[in-house]
């Protein structure tokens, strides 16, 4: 059997080198979830991230915050005094006639941000970009942020738009941006998945497709870390089974599998043995990671976290702990931003939940020296209309909200090689359409991959005879926002 064992090792090593030799995407084999029996030999390759990237990366990991439902960017980041001035007027024809809107059916009125103090904007940081007082903490870290004021999309229903933004295609079946990233770059931590998903509120309409791997191998799909029950499904041992007992079970499994390997010689068995070892390690590394009690009091005060709770703040802190441990892509989904009605009473509540922890996350990453190679993204499937949905905006107390809007909206990024304190692109005076420097969702995705050191045109996967990309056949990197 020594002959067989030797051949086996030669094979796995050769296969690995072959695939690594092909460059991007080959990290598949080295990534945590698919490490091979002979993967140790790759440690040198692992230390050299350039081997996996097309060019030197600016960012090593991504914390991608998706505000599910789409926040009212016009009341947060894209200040429109003219819209406030004309609040209550019927909107100009060109904003309605011949346009398709999700809900508004009759010519709507314009809806300006209220002039009350809590809604006013303040110009902050070097860019002088105006941020709403609804986000006072974010104002403080404005110097770290690049705003993209002119993102636009092609879809205006939640599910399709979420898939379009996150997978580059409006229907099911394509890999998500997080799985493309781990497919390209692998993970840097042996004991954790490369792509982790954290959720507050209802799951978004696109469902698990939003972090699915589409036609990529399923090892690249996001793994949801849950804040109730097992953080990773089936992580904890059955009742009455302690670690020692579990270890004995694993040893028995591995002994028998080893014997099988010696008899049958299938390299897959060697991989299976590795996976069981890794599962065992995950059983301690994941709970350790999820246990934020160990963080000092000042950290909890800074983020507004409460151990044991499900909250967006807790997820922000977890996101930091994840990237600290080398997780490649952390995606936060926060539900509750779809404000078709009562936007001005509901928006402050949601902002209250996210403002402090997001600002804390950026500041914390910076102090730990992680912000330079961690890209933080604030994004949503689309924006919201400058026109009112529901009752018009003339009354003092209004229940009006804003409809889905695909023509232009604001997202922002911080760290990870984007310019500090920068504002890109501009919308027209009513915030309806792009006035200058449009950025399509494909451009945004191309830029994110670029920051990670990958050329979106070369990060491909052959499926059904075609080389697929995250950006389909589109996308231009927005070089202006890169530091």
């Amino acid at each position: 059997m020594t002959d067989l064992t030797n051949a086996l090792q030669a094979l796995t090593r050769r296969e690995l080198f072959q695939t690594v030799g092909t460059g991007i995407g080959a990290a598949a084999l080295t990534s945590l979830l698919q490490r091979d029996a002979a993967a140790e030999s790759l440690d040198s390759a692992k230390a050299d991230p350039a081997r996996r990237t097309h060019f030197a990366p600016k960012a090593k990991s991504v914390i991608y915050i998706h505000l599910v439902g789409a926040p009212s960017h016009l009341d947060l980041f894209d200040h429109k005094p003219e819209l406030q001035k004309r609040d209550g007027e019927l909107c100009p024809d060109e904003m309605f006639k011949g346009k398709r809107l999700a809900f508004i059916r009759n010519q709507p009125t314009l809806l300006g941000t209220p002039k009350e103090k809590k809604f006013t904007f303040r110009r902050v940081g070097e860019s002088g970009h105006a941020i709403s007082n609804l986000m006072p903490n974010l104002q403080e870290v404005a110097d770290e942020i690049t705003f993209i004021n002119t993102l636009h999309t092609d879809q205006f229903n939640h599910g399709p738009a979420q898939m379009y933004l996150l997978s580059g295609f409006e229907r099911f079946g394509r890999p998500s941006i997080g799985s493309w990233t781990t497919y390209g770059l692998g993970s840097e931590n042996e004991n954790l998945p490369g792509f982790v998903v954290l959720i507050t509120g209802q799951v978004l309409g696109a469902g698990s497709s939003a972090w699915g791997s589409g036609f990529l191998p399923t090892v690249y799909q996001g793994v949801e870390f849950r804040s109730q029950g097992d953080p990773v499904l089936f992580l904890s041992n059955p009742k009455g089974i302690d670690t020692a007992s579990r270890r004995r079970v694993l040893d028995a499994i591995n002994t028998i599998n080893q014997d099988g390997l010696a008899n049958v010689g299938d390299p897959e068995i060697a991989t299976r043995i590795k996976q069981y070892e890794m599962a065992f390690r995950m059983q301690s590394s994941v709970p350790e990671l999820m246990d934020i009690k160990s963080e000092p009091l000042e950290v909890h005060e800074r983020y507004g976290t409460k151990p044991g709770k499900t909250s967006f703040a807790n997820n922000c802190l977890l996101a930091r702990r994840l990237v600290e441990r080398g997780v490649r892509f952390v995606q936060l989904f926060d539900q509750g931003w779809d404000m078709h009605g009562s936007v001005f009473s509901r928006l402050p509540v949601k902002c209250g939940q996210v403002d402090q922890p997001i600002a804390a996350l950026i500041g914390d990453l910076k102090e730990r020296g992680l912000l330079d190679d961690t890209l933080v993204v604030w994004s949503a499937e689309f924006g919201r209309t400058p026109m009112a949905q529901g009752r018009n905006g003339t009354g003092k107390v209004t229940k009006a909200g804003r409809d889905h809007h695909k023509e232009a909206y604001t997202v922002w990024m911080a760290g990870g090689g984007v310019r500090r304190g920068f504002s890109h692109g501009a919308t027209d005076e009513l915030g309806y359409a792009v006035a200058e420097n449009p950025v399509h969702v494909h451009d945004l995705n191309a830029t994110i991959l670029h920051l990670l050191g990958m050329d979106h045109k070369r990060l491909t996967f052959r499926y059904q005879g075609r080389d697929y990309r995250l950006t389909d056949v589109h996308g231009d990197v927005v070089h202006e926002i890169i530091a």
Partner: protein, 1036 residues
């Protein structure tokens, strides 16, 4: 996929004028040397120009969309609908525009030398003369997959005694060519397990293994194969890959992802496979069963194949867009499943690699374009799934029950008419009107104390309402102490109020969008010194109650029912309850209110206010709408009268009793409704089909009609011009793709990989077949053998190729590591469903009940989180349904069964031809810790103990291994299990309670016999090892 030309259709149209001028001037200036009437020869004059200047990008392996090596391509309208070469009209040919353009963005070639004046003139004249491009010239050889297969000769082989059928000839010939020999035959027990799993997805029992091992001759093997092919388990096993292709699921997908009824189609597939329905018929019935003459119910059910597509009913969806997306899916899935072809590219433009055009795509599209919209605006922004469905026949016994109930309903209605007394009704109205004139008054009670079991925080607001905040427990009970100086209180009111600090304004706390609460039970006690005296309540009223969550539930003594208010979210509500006796002395009285909220998921009250009523409760309880009617002096409308009558009936015990009976009977009748299934239905007026430019449903191009791709076999003129015609065209024996694509997928099910490894694509970019002749031989054999799947499957499992040992040798690792040559038997990890089915079978839990509604076995909480309205609930099965095969497990697209997902099951939102086969730690965690597998491990432990009541640990361990692996165990394996058993026995001895905890924890569904706990707990660990072995989850 898109070449430069398609990216600039805009600019083109803007520049047309300018270009036309250039061309005109150009042709003037470039008067050719040859005389104008000299004939231009394509092969001599034109093709060299293309070869020199164009074919680098526009050649056979083009990167540009247009292919100038193909006559067919060059004369087809380009993606943007413009004509590349219009014979006889050079000026209308884009080709000439581009080669003469001065515009940097438009000119061709974009780099390198431009065409000389002479060359341009030649092309100009060639087009003017009719652009003669001889048909047989420069088409290039046709891609192998587009040529109808013929039966190849069996190759000669050296090792004559090895092959048992032609499959072996082809495989052996290739092996010999590489200087390899086949592997020896597999161990009989291993082979038996392999063929059982391959054909039925279930393992053999130890008895079946013993019988075969005792006499493993070829006849015995064939008898086993025949038996397995005839087993009903065969259809269940083979339905799984087909349902992946058919993207069968039990929900709509997208935001709401509600469940839909379509399982009759799943059962149809199982049944058709078990019957070995010829594949041509199998395809026809699924694509167009509804259009067959005198279509049977089964044939209509079969059309569920194309009704499985996802459907978006999220608020604000555009139904037509949804319909067009569904059509794209139908066309693309048809292409993938029956042609192994990716047609999707052609939605927007001509296929870049394969010879399919955008127009051809929309010709196929036309076949499917006659089905109705499946989404309809229900009200406001709510949209509903309304696609056509068909009722399934009701079984006899249900039918008679239904008749009975209908009769009962008629009787009740007659009783109701008799019981209604108009005078009584009028007196009731008079009294109420009187009462309203001196209205009774509600007075708010002062809050003294608030306690809750859920650890929430609270605040008493100025209006004496209690605002709850802080932690959000799933369930809670509020105990509120309040005082009042009122006297003779006849009713209490509980208000559920809104507040800006509550998610979505409240009144519930649990959810931003669905701000519901469920008030399960209300209890009121009056403090009498230190004693608490119960205040019995009755006559519950509310401003609004959710369907089936009537306010009366809050005082029915049942903690599982309650009062709720969906969908009237975001606004205040109230409930009132009459007291049996008047309470309150006029001095300060103290009342203790207990508000139980047991529903879970934090559906609890956010802000509560309590009031007491002095005066006539009847008038006070009137919902505002009724009070408003009664205050009116003038004539009431019919609707207003109807509302009054309804309210009267509610408050009248006689009538409300009958009404309750009527409601109950109606509900029972409703439950006896026949199940339905989704079917294809053709509209009477066919839709007009137009090319959708760039795939945009609002951007319509030229009209197209039914038709099939030109590169494939012709469409027989006699075929009907509808889906049935398309289906018949697909199964035409001349179709080069269908039989190859189908047998290749089956081959992959048996060998873990296809002869063409890209199972999903047979186009020009497909991987070439490893054994082209074998593929063709199988394809021809399939068609000639009457399209019988079972015939093909039998041939494959009877082959010696299939029956080889799957052990690797060092030579294999060097020469054939991926087993592309089949130098050994197949060995690969089983599918998600098969792993579970196998574990259920070896643990003795498997229930073989077939068909019917999807099942919900155990799954962890929190998987079926709501992703929108009407979220279905997971109701864990407690009977045999818990242990039925995976094919019957409900498939919800937003949340497929989690242990299946961990083993690479797709979400079935789109057609899946090939599941990935990964090897991950999450799989280890699933088999070790998923309570479903823990339960199976315990059952397996029980089986091991019970099968051999007095046997040694060693014998029992060997028995467990035999149950899971079929073969004789090796000593090393037994030793490992015995050692584990001993270690666990030691540990349990030191902690006797532990065994019971382990057994109780593992046992979720079945009976609980814990007397054997100590023994079972030891064997539980062993069983867990057995279910986790590589070999247990591998078909080796």
């Amino acid at each position: 996929m898109i070449d430069a030309s398609t990216l600039r259709p805009f600019r083109w149209s803007l520049l047309v004028g300018a270009l036309a001028m250039c061309v005109a001037r150009g042709s003037l200036a470039l008067e050719p040397a040859q005389t104008a009437d000299e004939r231009v020869e394509f092969a001599r004059d034109i093709r060299p120009i293309f070869a020199n200047h164009c074919n680098e990008c526009h050649g056979a392996d083009r990167s540009g969309g247009l292919r100038l090596t193909s006559r067919r391509d060059a004369f087809t309208a380009s993606d943007s609908g413009e004509v590349v070469i219009k014979a006889g009209h050079a000026k209308q040919s884009i080709l000439l525009e581009r080669i003469t353009s001065q515009d940097e963005d438009a000119m061709m070639p974009p780099e390198g030398d431009r065409l000389s004046a002479k060359e341009v003139a030649l092309i100009n004249r060639w087009i003017e003369q009719g652009a003669d491009w001889p048909k047989d010239d420069a088409e290039g050889p046709t891609h192998w997959a587009y040529v109808t297969p013929t039966r190849p000769e069996r190759p000669d082989v050296d090792q004559h005694d090895w092959p048992v059928n032609p499959i072996d000839d082809f495989v052996l010939a290739a092996l010999e060519e590489k200087g390899l020999r086949p592997s020896p035959s597999a161990d009989p027990a291993v082979l038996l397990r392999r063929v059982y799993l391959a054909l039925t997805g279930l393992p053999p029992s130890p008895e079946q293994v013993d019988a075969f091992v005792a006499n493993p001759n070829p006849e015995a093997y064939e008898a086993v194969v025949d038996e397995l092919l005839n087993s009903p388990r065969y259809g269940e096993r083979w339905a799984r890959p087909w349902l992946d292709l058919a993207r069968y699921a039990d929900s709509n997908g997208f935001q709401a992802d509600q469940l839909r009824e379509s399982w009759a189609y799943r059962d149809w597939v199982i049944e058709a496979l078990n019957k070995d329905m010829p594949f041509d018929q199998f395809a026809i019935e699924q694509l167009a069963g509804d259009l067959l003459p005198n279509a049977t119910i089964d044939q209509k059910i079969a059309t569920g194949f194309h009704r499985t597509v996802t459907c978006n009913v999220e608020a604000g969806v555009h139904p037509e867009e949804n319909r067009v997306n569904q059509l794209f899916d139908r066309v693309n899935t048809t292409g993938t499943v029956f042609l192994g072809t990716t047609l999707e590219c052609c939605q927007c433009h001509n296929h870049k690699y394969d010879p399919f055009t955008q127009t051809e795509y929309y010709r196929l599209f036309a076949y499917f374009n006659n089905t109705p919209l499946e989404v309809k605006q229900k009200s406001g922004v709510t949209y509903d799934f309304v696609g056509p469905k068909m009722s399934l026949p009701l079984p006899e016994e249900r039918l008679s029950k239904r008749k009975q109930l209908s009769q009962r309903l008629e009787e009740l209605k007659a009783q109701r008419r008799a019981a209604f007394d108009q005078q009584e009704r009028d007196a009731w109205e008079r009294e109420l009107r009187q009462g309203l004139k001196s209205p009774p008054e509600w007075t708010v009670l002062a809050i003294v104390a608030f306690e809750s079991t859920g650890g929430e925080e609270h605040e008493i607001l100025e209006d004496q309402s209690v605002l709850v905040s802080g932690s959000l427990p799933g369930t809670t009970t509020y105990t509120i102490t309040a005082t009042t100086k009122q006297r003779d209180i006849g009713a209490f009111k509980i208000e559920a109020l809104t507040h800006p600090s509550l998610p979505g304004m409240g009144p519930g706390r649990g959810d931003e969008l669905r701000t519901n609460f469920i008030l399960s039970e209300v209890d009121v006690r009056e403090m009498d010194g230190s004693k608490r005296r119960a205040v019995p309540l009755h006559g519950a009223q509310a401003d609004f109650s959710q369907d089936r969550w009537e306010v009366a539930n809050a005082i029915d003594g049942n903690p599982k029912t309650g009062w709720a208010i969906a969908p009237q979210f975001g606004k205040p509500h109230w409930a009132s309850f009459r007291t049996a006796k008047r309470v309150g002395s006029g001095e300060e009285s103290t009342f203790v209110f207990t508000l139980e909220q047991n529903y879970g998921r934090g559906r609890t009250l956010g802000r509560v206010r309590l009031s007491g009523l002095v005066g006539d409760p009847g008038a006070a309880e009137l919902p505002e709408a009724i009070a408003k009617i009664l205050r009116k002096e003038n004539d009431l409308s019919d609707e207003e009268r109807r509302l009054l009558d309804k309210h009267f009936a509610k408050s009248n015990p006689r009538l409300s009793a009958i009404d309750a009976e009527i409601q109950k009977t109606t509900r029972q009748l409703g439950q006896l409704q026949p199940a339905t299934t989704l079917v294809m239905v053709e509209m009477s007026e066919p839709r007009e089909t137009r090319v959708l430019l760039r795939g945009d449903y609002l951007n319509k191009g030229s009209e197209v009609n039914y038709g099939t791709p030109g590169v494939l076999h012709p469409l027989e003129p006699g075929l009907p011009r509808n889906r049935l015609g398309l289906a018949k065209w697909l199964v035409d024996p001349a179709n080069p793709l269908l039989p190859r694509v189908t047998v290749n997928r089956w081959w992959a099910e048996f060998f873990g990989q296809g002869i063409v490894s890209s199972l999903e694509d047979f186009g020009t970019k497909a991987e070439p077949p490893t054994h082209p002749e074998l593929l063709d031989w199988l394809a021809v054999e399939f068609v000639d053998g009457g399209w019988s799947a079972k015939h093909l499957h039998k041939l494959i499992v009877m082959s010696r190729t299939f029956r080889q040992s799957s052990a690797f040798t060092s030579k294999h690792l060097k020469v054939d590591p991926e087993n592309k040559l089949y130098s050994r038997g197949p060995r690969f990890r089983m599918s998600a469903e098969m792993i579970r089915d196998n574990a259920l079978a070896v643990s003795g839990l498997l229930a073989t009940k077939m068909g019917g509604e999807p099942i919900m076995p155990f799954q962890p909480e929190g998987i079926w989180r709501s992703v929108g309205r009407n979220a279905p609930k997971w109701v864990e099965e407690r009977d045999e349904d818990r242990f039925r095969r995976g094919i019957y497990v409900v498939w919800r697209r937003a949340a497929p069964y989690p242990s299946f997902v961990n083993f690479d099951a797709p979400d079935r939102a789109a057609c899946v031809v090939k599941r990935p086969r990964t090897n991950t730690p999450l799989q280890a965690l699933t088999l070790l810790n998923d309570p479903a597998y823990v339960e199976m491990a315990l059952a397996l432990a029980e089986r091991i103990v019970n099968d051999l009541p007095d046997a040694s640990v060693e014998r029992r361990a060997a028995h467990g291994l035999r149950l899971c692996l079929a073969r004789e165990p090796r000593q090393k394996e037994i030793d490992a299990l015995v050692a584990l058993h001993e270690a666990e026995r030691q540990r349990l001895r030191s902690d006797p309670k532990l065994a019971r905890r382990i057994v109780k924890g593992a046992r979720r569904g079945g009976v609980s016999d814990v007397t054997l706990a100590g023994e079972l707990a030891c064997w539980f660990h062993v069983a867990s090892v057995l279910l986790n072995l590589d070999e247990t989850i591998t078909r080796g």
